[in-house]
Amino acid sequence: MAAELLRESFEIQGRNFDKAGEVSGEIKVILRDLGIDPANLRRVVIVAYEGEMNVVMYANRATLTLILTDEDVNLEIVDEGPGIPDIELALQEGWSTASDEMRELGFGFGMGLPNMKKNSDEFRIESEVGKGTSVFAKIRLNSNA
């Protein structure tokens, strides 16, 4: 069992496009200053950013928790939002329920969840329609790092 070294939580506001990306920016600075190797850092930042954007686009609010152990980086994003009726479908590239308005802003091309999955070593979604969605992602640190 990996020993937990650090746990920090961040609040994300839904539909606040102005502040979108700030939380993933903070996570990047924390992990960079801790000397996480660049390739893994990059994956973490992409997963955090895509997760944050999903909350901003679809949910009311969410808590993103960063958990660092001596073996991996874990991101948990628990939101209050509409939920996902068909998770398998949501994970297909190009599937999107984004509005035209969101697409005009350059989001909602159906790459968010697939991209998160691609950049994670373990990835899991739990969702209840009408209540919210929880996303868990694990990025393993290289043993030689």
Partner: protein, 429 residues
């Protein structure tokens, strides 16, 4: 770890400890302890912000002097195009080139060819690059160092093509050693630089190889000499008619002119560290799509705004435009030479650029997390006013310094009354 060199030095005798440099430094690399500024070398990216704000001249660029050039048998100037925009509207690049010869250089290199070659090499590289995108230009040494220090995950985005000044140094040594029967190390390739950052890229290239150039002379360092030679108009030496005659030579200094062959839609020219950092933050998140190339200059306005230039940026740019418009298009000889060299030379970076380890010492992840937690705890006891009186630019930096055992928490005036008395002693007139 290799000792890091920097393009400037701090003269402790001249430093009056007024902290302007510490407050101006974008990477928080300066501390002022006991009334004297000092550098944390691992954090410094050689942007030169400190140089510009130092009121006593204690911080100075480590350029070379003419006396140091005497050990070479043949001295060649590679002039940054920014040089030619520093003089009057009627002063032509040819006159500036002649003044350089009068000052003791044996030749002025036709640098426009190298600039054109790298423009082509980069354009071709962008076309065949498998990713990740966007590629980031490496001509500005500050940008490369910023990536190494603050954006380690972007090192793979740095375009793997050498800077034109390096390609110029290599070719001029090859050519003159052949023509004059000299050894390459008897020939000096001297860059006339608009900033101190390019000096450091010669002293210690980011990719950990040896530079083809032998040193740099700041524009401001020889400005007066050039001006007086031009005004005296001493035509002591014969000069080739085609010397510094092409308008391509003037492209390098202006940001938009750097890569004329790249498609406008997929290419962003960026100037100024603040704006560059904003875009880099977005690149890290994967937010920048459909952009193939970022051309980055740390100085606002590009190299004509460098901290060793003399003329103000806006006048220099206007002069630059004027020169570009009034000079003849490069002739067929120029095109021939570019074609000939492009076919035979390799322009790739000689080795890859790696992130710079921030910690001087090696710590494992557990210890780094423990240190961070300690810094967070300490920060809660600090006033968050960022007054700087402890000698660190922000309370956060002070907390980190204490956690890393680089400073004493009681240096904060809010935690220790004695500190005020100590400062009074240090700053007593």
């Amino acid at each position: 770890m290799l000792e890091l060199k920097h393009g400037f030095k701090i003269d402790a005798d001249k430093c009056n400890g007024r902290m302007s440099c510490m407050r101006a430094c974008p990477t928080h690399a300066i501390r002022v302890k006991n009334g004297k500024a000092r550098l944390i070398p691992e954090l410094c990216i050689d942007c030169g912000s400190c140089l510009g704000v130092c009121s006593t001249g204690a911080i100075y660029a480590t350029t070379i002097t003419f006396a140091e050039l005497d050990r070479f048998k043949f001295k060649v100037a590679v002039a940054s195009p920014a040089l030619f925009s520093q003089f009057g509207m009627k002063d032509t690049p040819a006159q500036v080139g002649r003044a350089l010869l009068d000052l003791g250089f044996d030749a002025v290199w036709e640098y426009a060819v190298d600039i054109e070659l790298i423009d082509r090499a980069i354009t071709d590289c962008v076309k065949t690059w498998p990713g990740p995108f966007p590629l980031i230009s490496d001509a500005c040494p500050v940008v490369v160092r910023l990536i190494q220090v603050a954006y380690p995950s972007l090192v793979e985005h740095i375009v793997p093509i050498d800077a034109p000044r390096e390609v110029a140094g290599r070719e001029l040594k090859r050519r003159y050693s052949q023509e004059l029967g000299l050894k390459p190390d008897e020939i000096a390739a001297i860059y006339i630089t608009p900033c101190q950052a390019k000096t450091i890229s010669i002293l210690q290239p980011a990719e950990e190889t040896k530079s083809y150039l032998d040193g740099a002379v700041g524009i401001s360092q020889i400005y007066n000499n050039i001006l007086s030679k031009m005004r005296k108009n001493t035509n002591t030496r014969e000069i080739a008619g085609d010397l510094v005659s092409s308008s391509e030579l003037l492209h390098w200094g202006a940001p938009e002119g750097e890569f004329p062959s790249l498609s406008r839609e997929h290419y962003l020219p960026l100037t100024g560290l603040t704006d560059i950092m904003k875009v880099f933050n977005d690149v890290e998140k994967g937010k920048i799509r459909n952009i193939e190339f970022l051309e980055c200059h740390a100085c606002q306005g590009g190299c004509v705004g460098g901290n060793l230039t003399v003329e103000n940026l806006y006048v220099a740019r206007s002069k630059n435009l004027h020169l570009s418009a009034s000079m003849p298009k490069p002739g067929p000889d120029f095109e021939e030479e570019v074609k000939r060299r492009y076919a035979i030379e390799d322009f790739s970076l000689r080795s890859s650029i790696k992130p710079r380890p921030i910690e001087g010492e090696v710590l494992d992840l557990r210890e780094r997390v423990a240190r961070r937690k300690r810094a967070d705890e300490l920060l809660r006891g600090l006033p968050l006013l960022n007054c700087g009186l402890c000698g660190a630019p922000t309370c956060k930096n002070h907390a980190e310094d204490v956690a890393a055992l680089r400073a004493d928490i009681s240096d904060c005036v809010f935690l220790s009354r004695d500190r005020i008395d100590a400062l009074r002693q240090i700053y007593k007139k």
